[in-house]
């Protein structure tokens, strides 16, 4: 059924976007960038996957859970890939520019990033907005763009290409930890609530004639929403935990922190000198 022709949207604009990314990347960074190219290609392919594959097609009015997968790709995974693909030295040069530096520094503060990332999740699941974005292509496009931008803002304090914009590891961990709580709450709500979070998915217009097979596969609207809620919750938190682990590793291996001059001959140093 996955290979059913109707479930693939081969003419999606996502191809264009992905190609533009890759082309721009190659033009701008040329040789500096072999390293990051892998992340970029991954990001671009996920972009295609999110719109061309059944994920994108079913997200378009059929399945809330498919929408959720698309949402997570756009908000979390793709921006992360994009940020990680940026070559460090080149970026360090760019951000010496005072204007860019100011922007970079502003985004490095945890509050805006957090609000963008978690806020985008909450905002676009207000029933009215969620339905509107599904039924109206313009609003849908706006939403997808806002996901990508919010995602970039969210990951900036963690994965900014220039070290000085990144949060110190322990702050980064609290940042992700609290973000996890944010999406957990929303996930719990969507999973267990009895109201329909996104009415557009409750009675899909069956333009592709796949509805019966979906229902036969057990994906009725109630189950679908439950699945969506769990997707909102477990995969992002797992991703955050993964990043938290990598931050912890960095924290433990980071041996070049500034050392205060330690007084020589430490043994028997009277305790009282250390107080005050």
């Amino acid at each position: 059924m996955i290979w059913d022709h109707a479930l693939w949207h081969w003419t999606s604009l996502a191809w264009l976007v992905a190609l533009v990314w890759v082309a721009l990347y190659l033009i701008v960074f040329r040789r500096a960038a072999v390293h990051g190219l892998r992340s970029l290609v991954l990001g671009a392919s996920l972009m295609v996957l999110a719109f061309v594959s059944p994920i994108g097609v079913l997200a378009d009015g059929y399945l809330f859970s498919a929408h959720m997968v698309q949402h997570l790709l756009l908000l979390l995974v793709i921006p992360m890939c994009l940020l990680l693909s940026l070559p460090k030295e080149k970026m360090a040069q760019w951000f010496e520019n005072a204007r860019l530096d100011r922007a970079g520094r502003m985004l490095s503060h945890p509050v805006p990033g957090w609000v963008c990332g978690v806020g985008a999740m909450w905002l676009w699941h207000v029933p009215v907005l969620c339905s509107a974005a599904t039924q109206n292509a313009g609003i849908g496009c706006l939403r997808d763009t806002s996901f990508l931008l919010a995602g970039l803002a969210f990951w900036w304090p963690i994965f900014a290409p220039v070290q000085r914009y990144r949060l110190p590891p322990l702050s980064g961990i609290s940042y992700l930890f609290s973000a996890c709580i944010g999406c957990t709450l929303l996930g719990i709500y969507i999973t267990f609530t009895t109201i329909t979070v996104c009415p557009a998915f409750a009675n899909p217009v069956d333009r592709l004639h796949v509805l019966t097979s979906l229902y036969d596969a057990g994906l009725t609207p109630a189950i679908d929403q439950q699945l969506g809620g769990l997707l909102m919750w477990v995969p992002p938190c797992s991703l955050y935990v993964g990043v938290i682990i990598s931050l912890l590793c960095r924290w433990y291996s980071n041996t070049e922190t500034v050392t205060p001059p330690e007084s020589p001959g430490g043994y028997g140093r009277p305790f009282s000198t250390s107080a005050k």
């Binding site: 961990i173 590793c249 291996s253 050392t259 430490g266």
Partner: protein, 742 residues
């Protein structure tokens, strides 16, 4: 840069007399730690006697030794006692005693708060056990499932005692956890970077954080149950529209992380004991520390595996099963770390080490049965049978109590200055290994045969009598082992050999000072350049820092008042989030439109206006703070008074609103909207009131000229709280008044 690390304003005064009374007034972390431990031992005995009574009743089929009611009271009190009066205090006790010593501090961050946290415990304990005198001890199980625990089914006051005592002890635990966290974060000796603290310290910091976020769900559930029982609401009464399932969700949101509140300290203890008796550093310090941190996060997302049988739906079951399997990974990794530490070490088989190794084996068994339960169909088959009892006792006793014994034999010399007798120790060890596995090993089979837990007797099915008899007889081996331990402690105290500062050639700072440590803890500290400063000092030629580097200390220590304010705020935030969740759950339903709702009963505009007052109080507070930091005391007092006034206006607005609602007959027992509304706004109002009291004290101090800019740190801490109260109100207002999420 500040190297002002071990600043303690309220350091314990040297109590010159060690008489019995001085213990009541003591704020020394070592004495309070010991008090915690002694209390835990006392209740271990009480809870143990309760368990023995249960086992005697179950020794033979169709027994009538205990009445069914008394049996129910016993298993409820046994569980509650072991969790809240043994597990919680004993680990807090060890943390209290050891952490300041391990990080080279003189005391915990807030010695007086520490004493208060402790004394909450005996108070709660007396409340809990008082219920026996009323003739109705709680009997709804340690998790007091609704609706059994609601008024129609439990009309006697037993459950009320249970609720109040748990709330009291919970508040004490949160205060204690804040203290531990602030101590680790703010009071480390110079050189002791957070990456260099002993694993015990790091893991106990994680445990403190876990306590902070896991007690609030319990407290909110307790508050709601109490409102049900005393004020006639119906949160948990399905017959009146409530949801008994909600109790289960809230309870296990506390209950599952709680098992890690116990497991983490056990990990912490064996992570100290195993390396020392293998004479090498722990294998993979960062792994053990990191996976313990990850557990804090993950343990919060798997509570529903206790609810597979209630019908959550297939999707939810599968996800929770997967998450549960996931959390086994960080735990599994640690088992490998400990085993790898043993591997190739020169192992000394002391009693402490034996207990630690038994911990490893038995904890793995408990973990494996846990993984079995994570597979939903197996859980359906085995839940509420003796297999569950076997599972969690393998984890709790086989794992955690054994780790505690290891810790006891390891640190007893430090605490008392005397060695425990190794021969008696080994006798105790074998009595416990045989007794424990005999008691609980056979319960796996009983579970498979379908013997239900929590039923006071059973018919004479084939095999049941024998297995139960084995189980009951074995329990007495553990009791005998405990008597051996008590004898060992007493005889060691009277005529044990003297320990000296570092009898085990151990690594961490507590072994650098005398045994027992002086009131001030240390006369001097060695230089801290690695994770094993005492090893470095004693074996300078093989010092750790020569071969492997660890991140150095940058000397930065956050302000402890602010740190503890943030910790408190996090805890409170979770409390409110859960109350709001309850609001959303009960008001998002379309079907029961009977009675008042938020649309019909509330005056949004008026409350909106009063909200502006509250929110502007945050601004005036901020202005006050700025004036204070500039040293302008008149300006400061002016804005502080304004903050208080604005807060009072808000409260007046709330009083008007309440009055009007009550006039209209919208009282807390009217319907679920009213109950949730009054609960959420009422608790918020209480918090505003609390904040106002604190601010008024500040104002008074400022009047009297006590409030120097130096003391303004405390003011900053109150500020964190005050802004928090406002943020909570924004959430309350958008959800309740503006109907977001409905």
């Amino acid at each position: 840069m500040s190297t002002e690390v071990v600043q303690q304003y309220e350091t314990a005064k040297a109590d010159s007399n060690w008489g019995l009374l001085s213990w009541f007034a003591s704020v020394d972390h070592k004495r309070i730690g010991l008090l915690y431990m002694l209390l835990a031992v006392f209740f271990l005995v009480i809870g143990g006697v309760e368990a023995l009574l249960i086992r005697v009743q179950l020794a033979v089929p169709n027994n009538t030794f205990l009445s069914p009611q008394f049996f129910n009271q016993l298993f409820t009190m046994h569980g509650t006692t072991m969790v809240f009066l043994v597990g919680m205090p004993v680990f807090t006790g060890f943390a209290n005693y050891l952490i300041p010593l391990m990080i080279g501090a003189k005391d915990v961050a807030f010695p007086r708060l520490n004493a208060m946290s402790f004394w909450m415990l005996p108070f709660g304990a007396v409340l809990l056990y008082w219920s026996f005198l009323t003739g109705s001890a709680p009997d709804a199980g340690w998790f007091s499932y609704a609706p059994l625990s609601t008024k129609p089914y439990s009309s006697l006051p037993g459950v009320d005692y249970w609720i109040i005592s748990l709330a009291v002890m919970g508040i004490g635990s949160v205060a204690g956890a804040i203290n531990i966290a602030a101590t680790v974060i703010c009071c480390r000796a110079p050189g002791m970077s957070l990456q260099r603290v002993p694993l015990f310290v790091w893991i106990m910091l994680m445990q403190a954080i876990l306590i902070l976020i896991t007690i609030p769900p319990l407290n909110s559930a307790l508050a709601m149950l109490l409102i049900d029982r005393w004020l006639g609401a119906a949160f948990f009464e399905p017959a009146r529209g409530g949801s008994a399932l909600l109790w289960q969700h809230f309870f296990w949101m506390f209950g599952h992380p709680e098992v890690y509140v116990f497991a983490l300290p056990a990990f912490a203890m064996v992570s100290e004991v195993i390396p020392v008796f293998s004479r090498k550093p722990i294998y993979g310090y960062a792994f053990v520390a990191g996976s313990s941190s990850v557990i804090v996060l993950l343990s919060y997302g798997v509570w529903a595996h206790h609810m597979f049988a209630v019908g959550l739906g297939m999707g939810a079951n599968i996800f929770f099963a997967a998450a549960t399997l996931l959390i086994a990974i960080p735990t599994g990794i640690k088992i490998f770390n400990w085993t790898a530490t043993l591997w190739g070490g020169s192992i000394r088989c002391t009693t402490a080490m034996l207990f630690a190794i038994a911990f490893l084996v038995q904890f793995v068994v408990g973990g494996l049965t846990g993984i079995m339960f994570a597979t939903v169909p197996i859980d359906w088959q085995l839940t509420d049978t003796y297999f569950v009892v076997a599972h969690f006792h393998y984890v709790l006793i086989g794992g955690i109590v054994f780790a505690l014994f290891a810790a006891t034999y390891y640190w007893f010399p430090k605490i008392t200055g005397k060695m425990l007798d190794e021969r008696l120790g080994k006798i105790q060890f074998w009595l416990w290994v045989i007794g424990f596995n005999g008691t609980f090993g056979v319960q796996h089979f009983l579970g498979f045969m379908g013997m239900p837990r929590r039923v006071y007797t059973y018919a004479d099915h084939p095999g049941w009598a024998t297995l139960n008899a084995i189980s009951s007889v074995s329990a007495f081996f553990m009791a005998a082992g405990t008597l051996v331990l008590v004898w060992n402690v007493i005889s060691s105290l009277l005529r044990g050999s003297t320990a000296g500062a570092n009898p085990w050639d151990a690594f961490t700072l507590e072994w650098f000072t005398t045994s027992p440590p002086p009131v001030e803890n240390f006369e001097s500290l060695p230089e801290i350049k690695s994770r094993r400063p005492v090893w470095d000092a004693n074996h300078p030629e093989q010092a750790d820092w020569k071969t492997s580097t660890t991140p150095a200390d940058n000397g930065h220590r956050p302000d402890k008042a602010k740190t503890s304010a943030w910790a408190f705020v996090v805890s409170e935030a979770i409390f409110f989030i859960l109350l709001l969740v309850a609001y959303v759950v009960f008001n998002a339903r379309v079907e029961d439109a009977s009675g008042p709702t938020s649309e019909t009963a509330l005056n949004v505009l008026r409350t909106g206006i009063f909200s502006v007052f509250l929110l502007s109080s945050s601004v005036s507070f901020w202005l006050a703070e700025r004036h204070l930091s500039r040293g302008d005391t008149t300006g400061f007092r002016k804005y502080l008074a304004m903050t208080i006034l604005l807060g009072v206006v808000f409260l007046v607005g709330q009083a008007i609103e309440y009055n009007e609602l009550i006039q209209d007959g919208v009282t807390i027992n009217r319907n679920l909207f009213a109950s949730t509304f009054f609960t959420v706004t009422g608790f918020h109002g209480l918090h505003v009131t609390g904040g106002l009291v604190a601010l008024s004290i500040m104002l008074l101090m400022a009047r009297k000229g006590y409030l120097t800019p130096k003391r303004s740190k405390v003011f900053g801490a109150i500020g964190v709280y005050w802004h928090f109260v406002d943020v909570v109100w924004i959430a309350v207002f958008t959800i309740i008044y503006l109907g977001f999420l409905q």
